[in-house]
Symmetry: C2
Subunit: 407 residues, 2 copies
Amino acid sequence: MSSCTATYRLYDDKADFRKKAESIAVGMTVGSWTELPQAKRESMQKHLGQVLQVDVHEPEGAQPGERFADVTIAYPDVNFSKDIPALLVTVFGKISMDGRIKLTKLGFSDDYLSSFPGPKYGIQGIRDILGVHDRPMLMSIFKSVIGLNIDELRDQFTKQALGGVDLIKDDEILFENELTPIEKRVEVCLKAAEAASRETGKKLLYAANLTGRTSSLKSQALKAIDAGANALLFNVLSYGYDVLHELSSDPEITVPIAAHPALAGAYYPSQHYGISASVLLGQLMRLAGADLVLFPSPYGSVTMPREENMAIRDELITSTLPIRTSMPVPSAGIHPGLVPLILRDFGQDVVVNAGGGIHGHPMGTEAGGRAFVQAIEAAQRGIRLAEYADATHPELKAALEAWGGER
Amino acid sequence: MSSCTATYRLYDDKADFRKKAESIAVGMTVGSWTELPQAKRESMQKHLGQVLQVDVHEPEGAQPGERFADVTIAYPDVNFSKDIPALLVTVFGKISMDGRIKLTKLGFSDDYLSSFPGPKYGIQGIRDILGVHDRPMLMSIFKSVIGLNIDELRDQFTKQALGGVDLIKDDEILFENELTPIEKRVEVCLKAAEAASRETGKKLLYAANLTGRTSSLKSQALKAIDAGANALLFNVLSYGYDVLHELSSDPEITVPIAAHPALAGAYYPSQHYGISASVLLGQLMRLAGADLVLFPSPYGSVTMPREENMAIRDELITSTLPIRTSMPVPSAGIHPGLVPLILRDFGQDVVVNAGGGIHGHPMGTEAGGRAFVQAIEAAQRGIRLAEYADATHPELKAALEAWGGER
């Protein structure tokens, strides 16, 4: 019997967690069991949820609120269709509202996975497009773009591009507007990217923010692609994972999609409720086909604990799934002094993503990009940043002075 | 300047909440302000978020974790498109991940509202369809339907219909399946509804669960409507509000839509994070066009505090919006003895919705419906249930004995 699994952390000071687990397994599948006549049980057996594991954590002298159990339940695939809304409603629909319970892990059967082509490009595909195979990549973020006209946007794009970044992403709060509609900004920015490439010798992806009504997203994406777009940014959680799944698996959408974590904080930060970041921004984003996934880094002001970051990363790159990997993009609070630490935490397959750490550079946006490029060079060559920040690398030197050195 | 507003509850033991509010108002709109040259400020003024209110709650002797502020910020409409994903990303995208913050209320401008036709039927429309204008309505829920074949489904439907309920809803975990595909179960159940109507003299709505891939939902809905469907059930949160908005405003979808709260517990129960139930299941469901909205009642085992229920109700029926009202459907743990209390809490405009309280009746499902009908009659006539539960109302009597009497 093929099943998907869900692991929950249940908090309760005195519950019989085994009994609670059984009641979830029955209640979220066949509804009732012990009352069923034997003949009926035989026909319903293939629909019945199964408790796979119950680990009770009850430390000596546990304070009220500290007792919990990690419970894993198998949900037969035959009960639900092979899409993310059906899985989420099956494993966390009604019980999300039933006391202190957090969804901490999913397990996908091969049968379920057969509906998910996964990321169209993934880490390898993005590396191939950019021709960058031997180092982490560098992304910068448009800042303060609301109200900018197309010339101001081009100007900001050019400065970022000349700094030597590999990717530039729209601000996620830039929606369709008269000043900079998506096809116009794609056209103008990609032209600026070509000009910058002639100076830097680097290719560049520009992730334009895909917005609007759900049924118009595909035509918006095609409009952007027709205008030359080579990547898209998408606020997945405001639309639903299935919308990303449909976009990413559409053969006409021929560019990588970067998933923005906007709204994710409505789900993951509570200890007792919601959905863990590793499910939300790790497992489900990759399953739905995100080529790059942004999430709050453990380094800056908008932070997520390091172990949660590592759990997201693990889900994005694990080779246990038969789909492509997704590129981790830890974001917020990133400055050049953090580059060696980011590489220690994430390895080579990471996008170093900076906003203020590029635009706020004392020598300007372009220098901000260069400082990161130099920090990555140094880290790749095993040279301490402080040492590399000599007279030939004034941008790195200024960055380390502004934000602090290697950690 | 036309703006939408968002109110947040921010928790912090020592923050300057006014400063924090200013930083949200600037950070989520124009990005920076004090650094801008005067000329730029003039052009950006119309995009700048405004702090409307900061109420700090700091009781004498507040314990750590108890200090909070309710902060309201106005977001100029010019910054975002008139759809729910854009509003949510604007007001709660990035900041949802920035510390202890909960979104507790939204305010919609007339300009923003102009994109939202709202519920197509609403309370009045549903009353008109059913011809029920002088009493609360009664809904029953299919139970344990996974694995049932079409004859078993018809049988369960008939028993519910004969009990005299006004609406019957699918189980939200019933997805497309070979045994009971939507067009088949609509056909069979609606035929059973007609037969039952001849006995009960009552009209009946059957809300069939609309499931599948996002882009196929409309065709699924039309398939169901072609087969005779007179209502739909939809797991809104697993798809996104914009999908409901598109379905409800589609002129071809000519039946009421009931919004199921599956997954809502991933957002609302935490004190410090997420989105309040009154926003999630009240304001946004009505804005997106739900004709009926289910939510956990304050009465049963899967409970929500009464004040949160009242806040949802207020948002569903408030006359301050220029769109139709949505019918409140408090659900879970409802038995006939609770009817007078439900009517005291919700008034006449409520659907009394029961699953176990109907199917678990000692005399069977049909009697379970009758017991509720009798409880509603008694409450309407101002007669105590215990008094009404005489020999002429044996079903009510048995229900009160099984689950307890009037509260």
